[in-house]
Amino acid sequence: MFGSTLFIISALLTLGGAFMVVASKNLVHACVFLLASLFGVAGLYATLGADFLAAIQLVVYAGGVVILMLFAIMLTGGSQDLSNKYGLNKIPGMGSVRTYIAGGLSALVISLVVLKILANVIKSAQVGELPEFTTTVEKIGTMLLTDHILAFEISSILLLGALIGAAVISRPRKG
């Protein structure tokens, strides 16, 4: 009962937030709606029994990525969806009814093909009761430091490289 209530709230938060990211004109508002959508995804992780993933989602996205995005928006002063210096705010040829119809039809065909492929997988999935809640932190920690130790170390080097690269790229220009 509690699980399905949490699922409904999280799903509505996720879908509504994602829709508002598409629809809102102001970029700061879009960023805040993205935050709502990420909170919803964290709730969905919780309904899947992935407590560690839900916590990491909240810490990394809400505490890190969205704040970084807000910083970049403020630094570039672009809270509005600006047109460029030629006054263009659309690709020429986008925005006519024909292109929307063609895009919708192709998206429909692609999703039908993917659903046809996935249908067997969905049918064969074991749909049972959720097992008794057990914390996943211990298992994930053991797996990260035994089976996946190489990927773990490579991701640490990737993060170090991203940190240094971001600092080098965005440093102010000399002279």
Partner: protein, 101 residues
């Protein structure tokens, strides 16, 4: 209600929203927001499949690495955007027509 199909539908809607943001917006930071939505859809798919197919936590590891890569991508992407704004005084994607300053 909490079946694999409903999680896949939510993930599909998230991915479609990300693609729509990338196609419709002309602001580079807004396009980075769309990339974050798409990466979240992929991570949610991994977590849902590992719950409903075999429940052995491999998918949680994959989702964790997706989150790590998304954080690194956001840091480098926003650094490039700020550098681009210093040079061109704009963050419109149509102004990014040449790499050399």
């Amino acid at each position: 209600m909490m079946t694999l199909a409903s999680y896949l539908f939510i993930s599909f809607a998230l991915f479609a929203a990300g693609v729509a943001v990338i196609i419709a917006r002309k602001n580079i930071i807004a396009m980075l927001l769309g990339i974050e939505l798409m990466l979240n859809a992929a991570a949610l798919n991994f977590a849902a499949y590992t719950r409903f197919l075999n429940n052995n936590y491999e998918g949680h590891i994959m989702s964790l690495f997706i989150i790590v890569i998304a954080a690194a991508e956001a840091a480098v992407g926003l650094a490039i955007v700020i550098r681009f704004f210093q040079i061109r005084d704009s963050i419109h994607v149509d102004d990014a027509t040449q790499l050399q300053s």
